[in-house]
């Protein structure tokens, strides 16, 4: 089932949680709502579920206005951040709950409920836990039971609030791959909320980056990572070095170094922010011809693993520059802390600052 969100606004007192948000989620897609905490992503998810009502705007399910529809009639599955399993019920009863509370006419028989619950528990690979109580389960198990419970009512939409937020790093990685595979099997329209860019980029078909109640960018993971449309998206997705600069006739000046740009040819002396990802930096010991380079001193080397992280102190500037080299390249250069080097940015992205703001 497709979801359309039209001009949704939501305020909590004087705090504006969502400010004119519009979003289309096509049927069968797995979408990530990505943003820092407090950006409104969970509020948006709860509005889609019907747990919150928007101040204005509307929600459409499959083209039909569902803004006024009651939560229990929306046919959504919701997985809560802290799972919200019913602590006094067994795992089996938790999963069966959505079937048992149906009105008599549509309620399945006991045998059907039994079959359905066990099929779901097998789907999440936890059939052997049916008689346990939620407090006896580990975090990852609770998460999967919460998912089975949400799927029991055969929802048209699956909504997940920080589904891996409370898990430790290893379980988290396993579970998100598992969720991706599950989605590929079931093809149920799914939206999940996360503040972890790695998670969003790895799992989702499309990523919606949200900041301060507004959507910054919508696109495939590749898209938002390679072509961020705003400084916020650039900074939020992965590490980045930020430089204050001036753009004049297609050239960005950072300190006394001028970098040629592909765009901004008409721009006249405008303040701008330039961004370079740490892996888009090359380091040379000698100045290499006429290509623009920054002089710097290596101040810190972290050489564990396949990627070597360097911190460099640019001449005439207090801020540190982060660079990432492959370990081969690092061995080739044989860098030492305190050494003078030249920094060659391979890929610079510039955002003009309006009115110096």
């Amino acid at each position: 089932m497709s979801i359309e969100i039209r001009n949704v606004r939501k305020n909590f007192g004087s705090f504006s949680a969502l400010n004119d948000v519009s979003l289309d989620v096509p049927s069968g897609e797995l979408v990530a709502l990505l943003g820092p905490s407090g950006c409104g992503k969970t509020t948006l998810l709860r509005i889609i579920a019907g747990l919150e009502t928007p101040d204005s705007g509307s929600i459409h399910f499959h083209g039909a206005d569902a803004t006024e529809r009651n939560v229990r009639d929306r046919q959504v599955g919701f997985v809560f951040q802290h799972y919200a399993l019913f602590r006094h019920m067994t795992v089996f009863e938790n999963v069966a709950f959505g079937l048992r509370v149906r009105p008599k006419k549509t309620r399945p028989t006991e045998a059907e409920i039994h079959g359905r619950v066990h099929a779901l528990l097998q789907l999440v690979q936890l059939d052997w836990l049916a008689d346990r109580y939620p407090p006896q389960l580990s975090g990852g198990q609770r998460q999967r039971i919460a998912l089975a419970r949400a799927l029991a009512v055969e929802p048209k939409v699956l909504l997940l609030d920080e589904p891996f937020g409370a898990l430790d790093a290893k379980v988290r990685k396993e579970l998100r791959r598992w969720l991706r595979r599950l989605h590929d099997e079931l093809h149920i329209t799914s939206i999940f909320v996360t503040h972890d860019q790695e998670e969003a980029l790895e799992v989702a078909d499309r990523v919606v980056v949200i900041n301060k109640g507004k959507i910054e960018q919508i696109g495939t993971p590749q898209d938002v990572y390679d072509h961020p449309v705003s400084p916020f998206v650039y900074q939020f997705l992965g590490n980045v070095n930020q430089f204050k600069s001036h753009v004049h006739h297609g050239e960005a000046r950072i300190g006394d170094v001028g970098l040629k740009l592909d765009a901004h040819h008409e721009t006249q002396n405008s303040p701008a922010l330039a961004y370079v990802r740490p892996h888009d930096i090359d380091i040379q010991k000698q100045r290499n011809g006429v290509a623009p380079a920054f002089e710097a001193v290596v101040s810190y080397i972290h050489a564990i693993g396949p990627i070597v992280r360097l911190e460099l102190q640019r001449a005439g500037d207090t801020e540190l520059i982060e660079a990432e080299l492959t370990s081969e390249r690092f061995r080739e250069l044989a860098l030492m802390e305190g050494e003078h080097v030249f920094i060659y940015p391979r890929n610079v992205r510039v955002f003009l600052q309006e009115h110096g703001g």
């Binding site: 747990l51 229990r72 919200a84 602590r87 509370v101 346990r132 006896q136 389960l137 419970r149 949400a150």
Partner: protein
């Protein structure tokens, strides 16, 4: 199997935690215990023993006779009726108030919490007087009530009203922190899964708060049966009609009928003992379920062991 493993695990933990490094010297501990015991004996154990000795001083037959005396029986009956009305009403009120305060945001919430505590702050005698002022013969509704031949003051309704007033904080006070700690996620999960408000109340909320609720009810009941001040003002002390047990004790005592007074008092003391026993049982249940919640989080590693 798992539960057994877990509780062993947690008791082992507490033993380790109470190590020598963090506890006081032996003499400090023993003198603290001695002071506490001396205090408890003086104010609790000796009076309690005195009640039963005085009650049985003239023999068991006198004791029974004092209890089956028609006036005593009627006071017991009245006490039970008042509690039977006040406790369920306060149960419903307590759940409703705690639900509203714990699960919803609204203006004037803190005022409501303060108002719920009012009976703790107001002297019971004042509470009784309020009802006399409102429903008494010279009170606001007094003439209307007497015209229509309703009796509130010096009758059962007045006693019930006064009892409800002094006991209404107990259930709500017990439930509010519990429900706040549990949050409303489980209720929301029920809602999304299609449950109606009624189903959520019966299948999710009440089972989650049942021990706290029972605890509140027991405290309410104990106070309802033992209340003296407020009831004394509205009852009128009509023997065999409007005397509750505490009032009956007072009357007997003032008539120098010590054995009978203490006999009825011993029933109230027994009620207190039963209440205490139930209370500690429920406290044990509450902490037990909490500790299972707590240690189960660490127990995922032992899970594989208990699988067989």
């Amino acid at each position: 199997m798992t539960i057994a493993t877990i509780s062993q695990y947690s008791s082992y933990n507490t033993k380790v935690a109470r190590s020598r490094a963090t506890s006081e010297d032996a003499w400090v501990r023993w003198s603290l215990i001695a002071i506490t015991l001396a205090f408890l004996s003086l104010f609790l154990f000796i009076p309690l023993a005195a009640v039963f000795t005085e009650a049985l001083r003239k023999g068991f037959d006198t004791y029974i006779a004092a209890l089956v005396d028609p006036d005593a029986l009627s006071s017991i009956k009245l006490t039970l009726i008042a509690a039977a009305i006040a406790v369920p009403l306060n149960l419903v009120f307590g759940i409703a108030a705690a639900w509203a305060i714990a699960k919803f945001e609204f203006k004037g919430k803190s005022i409501l919490i303060t108002l719920i505590d009012l009976p703790f702050a107001v002297s019971p005698v004042i509470a009784g007087l309020i009802y006399v002022l409102i429903f008494g013969l010279q009170g606001w509704f007094g003439s209307w009530l007497s015209d229509h031949d309703y009796k509130v003051i010096f009758a059962l309704p007045g006693i019930v009203l006064a009892t409800i007033f002094v006991t209404f904080p107990f259930v709500a006070r017990e439930l509010i922190p519990l429900m706040q700690a549990q949050g409303k996620e489980e209720e929301e999960a029920g809602l999304v899964l299609g449950a109606s408000g009624w189903q959520i109340l019966w299948r999710i909320t009440l089972p989650n708060i049942k021990w706290g609720l029972l605890y509140g009810v027991i405290l309410t009941n104990a106070r309802a049966m033992g209340e003296f001040g407020a009831v004394s003002v509205v009852s009128g002390h009509i023997r065999g009609l409007t005397n509750t047990m505490p009032l009956h004790v007072e009357i007997l005592y003032n008539e120098y009928n010590y054995a009978a007074a203490f006999a009825v008092a011993s029933l109230l003391a027994l009620l207190a003992l039963v209440t205490l026993a139930l209370k500690s049982f429920i406290e044990w249940q509450l902490s037990h379920s909490a500790s299972i919640n707590e240690s189960a989080r660490n127990a995922s590693s032992t899970e594989k062991l208990s699988e067989e």
